[in-house]
Amino acid sequence: MNGDHISNLIRRLRFDHGEMTQQELADKVGVTRQTIIALEADKYVPSLGLAFRIARVFGVKVEAVFQPPD
């Protein structure tokens, strides 16, 4: 959606956390499942608030979920 190209490890983290579904993650962070799909496909760069909420669900720091471009 924008040209920042920030990659993420959401899919891997979901599977590492008891194969959490996209819907479960979406419900926990307060977004729609489509947003999680777009995030995992690197088609959407989340707001800072959403990035923190996702990281909090997985119990890691934001940098462990989202990697900025080199």
Partner: protein, 147 residues
């Protein structure tokens, strides 16, 4: 399908129904008489009723109780779509003004109501459907049903 997508589909459906209605009424001016009835009295009641029922079903069905109606990404999509719709509307308006200016010349005149019709026509029949299509296009680019 979230609320933004449902709204876009409903906007497109409303636009198509309006266009059909306008074409039906417009044909009276072209042919000079009433065109043959397509629906009949019962159909004229049932079709809009079916559309409203479908709209209610679409808007009340949710995948999850915790899922929000829309989120930050939907807002970005709506903003982009509105921008595309408005830009297209203004471009079309400029194009129409240019065509009118070149065909009528500097001394030519256009009735005042034409401008009103143009403004409403461009924004309701061009900008809004384009906004709806742009919304659906942006959703259509995402990955499908992954778990």
């Amino acid at each position: 399908m979230n609320r933004t997508q449902k709204s876009a589909w409903m906007l497109l459906a409303a636009f198509l129904l309006d266009a059909l209605g306008l074409a039906y009424v417009g044909s009276i001016f072209v042919w000079g008489r009433m065109p043959p009835r397509l629906l009949g009295h019962i159909g004229a009641v049932l079709v809009p009723l079916a559309v409203v029922t479908l709209a209610v079903l679409l808007f009340t069905r949710r995948q999850s109780r915790a899922e929000p109606e829309s989120d930050e990404r939907d807002k970005v999509i709506m903003k982009n779509a509105a921008r595309v719709g408005l830009l297209t509307g203004w471009l079309l308006l400029g194009l129409v003004a240019l065509i009118l200016g070149t065909t009528l010349g500097q001394t030519g005149a256009v009735p005042v109501y034409v401008l009103t019709l143009l403004l409403f026509g461009v924004f309701f029949f061009v900008a809004m459907p384009i906004c709806a299509v742009a919304t659906l296009f942006q959703y259509g680019r995402e990955a499908k049903d992954e778990r």
